[in-house]
Amino acid sequence: MQQTASTRRRERYRLIVVVVAGLYAWSVSVLPLLDDLSTWPALCGLGAALALSVSPFVPNRRLSLYGALHIFLAGCLLCWWGARERATLNPWSAYAALGWIAYTLALGSLTTPERGEQGSQLRPQMFRPRVQPSKAAALCIGSGLLATIALNIYSFQVSRPELLMLAHLAALATGLIVLKQTVLLAEYFQQKAQFGPYGSGVWWLFIALLLLVSGGLVSGWATAIG
């Protein structure tokens, strides 16, 4: 009984990824269509988001999957059908395509058993890490993530349609580069924490990492105000 509850809890955690990806796809492809909330397409769109959001909390596994997949997709499709006469802006369409790909991948990953679920019934506390996670690594990944999100938000400032798509693509490309490099740096910091003590020079790297955030955010947002 305890194992069943533990398995269900793990399934709920795994469903959270699907909910996040699905809500992102919904927010860029359905939310722009919800102007008048009294119409039936808007209600279908809202119902889809509601079914997806509550799906991890449904006690029955089958019903939660129905909410995260069938009801969610049906609601979105009905909303699009009802609002088919309306044109959608270019960047939203591109982001929506990416969002739905992310949702599909997250949903597909549910069929793959987690590493802990394969093989023996070892208890989770046996897999406790021997080395504590490095704070510098977390700071590094957090800075990269923050800069990437800020860049994507800032790309919405471009108003001309012929450059709007290019600005979003530029933000996406730069964001991917920054994320990859910050992950490599974080890996270095974690290894440093694992195999050797910090030297005094690491503080230089901390300062430089702070520059990564300040250089991006300050030069972008502060100049936008001025």
Partner: protein, 59 residues
């Protein structure tokens, strides 16, 4: 040497992020070519950071 490579890589990342912000800023002002130039700078700086971190791994 390793520290130098790391600091250079982080500086390249700062340049990459800053140039990307600046290119979008220029596009909002209507300076398309200068925006493209800064976007190219951003990509080159990102590629440089990548190569520097790879060099650190090999070294």
């Amino acid at each position: 040497m390793e520290r130098f490579i790391l600091i250079s890589a982080i500086a390249s990342l700062v340049l990459c992020t800053g140039a990307a912000f600046w290119s979008i800023r220029l596009w909002t002002e209507g300076q398309d070519l200068r925006g493209l130039y800064f976007f190219a700078v951003s990509l080159v700086a990102g590629a440089l950071a990548n190569q520097l971190l790879k060099a650190r791994e090999i070294g």
